[in-house]
Symmetry: C2
Subunit: 593 residues, 2 copies
């Protein structure tokens, strides 16, 4: 192994251009591959920016050529030479029109053969890749998203700072609070029997910061949820967290549209049009069966309840008698693609999301096959066709339910399933929108009480203030989610800044005075000493980066992600610990044999 | 309570200037105080930037004046009016030459009387201030450091980004490793009996990132140490963490000097001279008795061993026979200030730091009082005086020890004690230096083995490579600390990138092959696939901000600090948790009754 000596990088591999041909330069990195072609040695040198071809031939100093002959993949080198235009240019790498003719070479580290090849086009199992994450991260397709994520973070921070925000770090060893996912706990050694929780979000602290007069706060906060893992969830994740005083919800949405516009422009050179459409939750559920509608395609849900008023078709009649609803999608022109078998599968999707069934009519040139038309009068049929603008080639899909939200949700999933399987989605589109006016409460059958849909500090809409106790189900919140291509990228709300109203909310949520005090006592007190109107929002950064870079999993935008069992294969975390460590914490294991 | 209506802030209170007089503006914030002076109401409006005086008089619209009459401290308001030059100007606030003549006022929140007055000049006990942290943080002297900290963080991030660094978030649920302080543990629910640790630093991950080809990494990382609290320690703290490939230690120090220069210039408008002096550890210990010397004053330690060669004075003779050393400070001109009683106290300081005693000579105009001169020959005395340039008015302080480091450490503490108590330190100075060439190992009596002074991955100096096994105590490390005014602000090292050398290090540290593999196996493997030369450093951000803003405690630069019992008085963390939460984690408490 050699040392750097006096050599230092003058250029990054990926930033070298044809205009620099003729220049002397020093580059360093790892050998991606080396090959001898008729006495000329070509080596691809890889650094964090890209790849540059090195060349050694009969004019290369003998000792340098000898060293070059020993080069193998992943050897680490620094070398000096003259850049020249390449005879045989290639488009495969960004620097494909140049090569470095090396005059000085130092091998800084040799390398064993890696357990898998480090190129982009590989088919290696995930376990091996995660165990050798440091090797996988050398592959350009894995490497680049981590570098871009850093750029994204800087743009976000700069945007907030330019807009008078203060970055404040909130504590991460905090008190466990109810209402939320499961906390990660940290036993206290100094206070035996007591535990910290790792924060699920800095929610309480950011409200406290507004009460501390900080006016505008942001943070890229590490947050934690002890929940079972899915493709887009990690035990620890990063939240872009913000809170503002003396603003309305419109101000917050406008400011955040500016952030999105800036990010998409600077990262992707995409011009995002603002303002985004602000779609009330009722509309989102009604038209798309989702509180995060994907608007890159049609297939909208329609209300055909009126068509069936007085129908003799038993299942629909029963639902309508109970005050229910009938909703439909016209899968326009998809009759050829949606076979009976496909439609049966869509029926399963609808049932998974709570529908009792999926009625259908498939209007092919050869005639109609339908699960329900034979039970309809001609007038009903005509009215249905008219309502849905049905023509030959279409497939009509209907769900009836006493609960309109359930009917729409089931159809919304059917809608997504069709679009995904039949290529209705343009992958190049970035469709942003706000969903606003969420329900304030949702009823939990399990708990037998109304729960806060966002959290207990969410401000009710002004016109619903008198219904908080009398008709909680009818109350809407000053809450907003930002949705991109059918994925919730972030959300927030205005907070209650009136202690009397906060008391009413806790009461409506079934909190006793005692329980409220125990959980949020210090916050309830804090609001009594003067509280500005304030609100905020939070984004899942991992998800935002994933969507922006069009990656399939958030694992691809996190340097060292956890896997299904919440472990990290490379380091072997979590692991057993010494008995003494547990003793110090006054805890013991209660494992069953 | 009123709402914002259509009013929105147009100006921040603290940013209003005389040049804006005559302008209409809207400001908002909290009432710092309100007073009626002969029918004119004056109110100080406070926001995150400062204070602006509001005025209401007989020309104010009647309804606005009536509202103003109800204003009390900490009421939250938004108001519109015309800025005008103030008749009676004041220097007490930055906007003391203007006032806002209010034409529209909305009271957004009323406030109870606060448990203590929210002005800078208060004398309230810490417990109360910490319990009502959100009120304490409204006081300008508490508020401002948090805002400045945000600015400091942005400057740091911008500097690193400009210098080709990538910000990468490393995991915070990691594996517990030996060699360090006590870890905070997090029980895993999914893997019962297994624990995550919260990171003491991202050390292993940043090295892994270099092996992943990221070249230059930085992060403002949350780190954790379960140690007993001191004024400058918190259980959770923020570390400015960095690592670079293809560089030498000089490159790292130069880059970091640039960071410091930028920070001090932009935050304090202070020009810091670079490069900083690079002081070998041996010199730092010899001259200042500290590996973090405060060079804002003299009182340097001198080696007077030669003077006492062959002395009859028993205590010194015994030490010298055992190969020991005699070191001295001349407290120049301090004889009047250092009474016998003072000197006795200094003796206690010396003993606390391991000295067997502190010999002294106090040379006053009235004669000399000394603990040892009567045992010396005239020649020895003359030689001592000459060596120390001793004159009437001086106090000579001597420590003898078989261990020169111990002798110097004790005198170093005596030096600091004198300087602090007798005003020898210029509080306006910022004295930076590097301490370099630290010992590679230090011997632990407790463990009965050599321990890594920094950590086991620290690169030995090239000239000491052959002494790692044979003479560990003589080996120096390529390690460097940055010291400001006698406080270690940060430190780092070059890392071993040769697997064979790393094996030798583990061996020298008494790790069995098994133990090394168990603790660092994945890292040891990682170095086998090609490792660039790399090194890095880390700063304690809290401490850096504290030093920059000249605060006494890191608590003053952290929004929600923990106190002595590692708790947070405002929220009451840590707290007891539900039995079910522990069951889910397969742990139980083992508290004694």
């Amino acid at each position: 192994m050699e040392t750097l000596g006096s050599l230092r990088r003058t250029n990054y591999c990926g930033e070298v251009t044809l205009a620099m041909a003729g220049q002397e330069m020093t580059v360093c990195g790892s050998i991606a591959r080396a090959r001898d072609k008729g006495g000329i040695i070509f080596a691809d040198l890889r650094d964090t920016t890209g790849i540059l071809q090195l060349v050694f031939d009969e004019d290369t100093p003998k000792d340098v050529f000898a060293k070059a002959e020993s080069l193998k993949s992943e050897y680490v080198v620094i070398c000096r030479g003259k850049l020249r235009e390449r005879a045989a240019k290639t488009d495969k790498i960004a620097t494909g029109d140049v090569e470095l003719y090396v005059s000085e070479l130092r091998i800084l580290s040799e390398a064993q053969t890696t357990p898998f090849e480090l190129r982009d086009e590989i088919n290696v199992n995930d376990d091996l890749r995660l165990r050798y994450r440091y090797l996988d991260l050398r592959r350009p397709s894995m490497h680049e998203p981590i570098v871009l994520r850093s750029k994204i973070m800087q743009i976000i921070r700069n945007y907030f700072c330019e807009n008078h925000f203060t970055e404040i770090e909130t504590p991460t060893l905090i008190k466990s609070t109810p209402e939320g996912a499961r906390d990660y706990l940290v036993p206290s050694r100094v206070q035996p029997g007591h535990f910290y929780a790792l924060p699920q979000s800095p929610q309480l602290y950011k409200q406290i910061l507004m009460l501390s007069g900080f006016d505008r706060y942001f943070q890229l906060a590490h947050c934690y949820r002890d929940e079972d893992l899915r493709a887009d969830r990690q035990p620890e994740f990063t939240q872009v967290d913000e809170e503002m005083s003396f603003v309305s919800e419109d101000d917050i949405m406008t400011l955040n549209e500016g952030l999105i516009k800036r990010l998409w422009k600077e990262m992707l050179n995409v011009d995002v049009e603002t303002p985004f459409y602000r779609m009330p939750w009722d509309e989102a559920m009604g038209r798309f069966g989702s509180d995060k509608p994907d608007t890159r395609f049609g297939l909208e849900i329609q209300d055909v309840t009126e068509v069936f008023k007085g129908t003799e078709f038993k299942p629909f009649a029963a639902v309508l008698e109970a005050g229910g609803t009938i909703r439909a999608i016209n899968a326009k022109g998809l009759a050829d693609k949606l076979s009976r078998k496909n439609i049966d599968k869509l029926g399963e999707v609808a049932k998974t999301y709570g529908a009792k069934g999926l009625a259908y009519s498939r209007l092919t040139a050869d005639g109609t096959s339908s699960s329900f038309e034979k039970f309809l009068t001609d007038a009903e049929k005509a009215a249905l066709y008219a309502a849905l603008n049905a023509e030959t080639g279409d497939v009509l899909l209907l769900v009836s339910d006493t609960d309109w939200v359930k009917a729409c949700t089931a159809l919304g999933q059917v809608r997504l399933d069709i679009a995904r399987k039949h290529g209705l989605i343009d992958p190049d589109k970035f469709n942003f929108l706000w969903v606003v006016d969420f329900p304030l409460f949702e009823y939990s059958e399990q708990e037998g009480r109304w729960m806060a849909m966002h959290h207990p500090f969410t401000l009710p809409k002004a016109e619903d203030l008198d219904k908080v106790e009398s008709d909680p189900g009818a109350c809407h919140a000053v809450a907003y989610d930002i949705v991109l291509n059918g994925v919730e990228m972030g959300g927030g709300s205005m907070r209650i800044n009136d202690p009397a109203l906060q008391d009413r909310m806790f009461h409506a949520l079934g909190f006793t005075e005692e329980k409220a005090r125990e959980s949020f006592g210090f916050l309830m007190d804090a609001y009594k000493f003067g509280a500005p109107p304030h609100g905020g929002m939070a984004y899942g950064l991992d998800r935002m980066v994933m969507l922006m870079l069009k990656k399939d999993s958030i694992r691809d935008v996190i340097a060292f992600p956890k896997v299904q069992n919440a472990g990290e294969p490379m380091s072997g975390a979590p692991d057993v610990v010494d008995e003494q460590q547990l003793k110090d914490l006054s805890i013991a294991l209660t494992l069953k044999d």
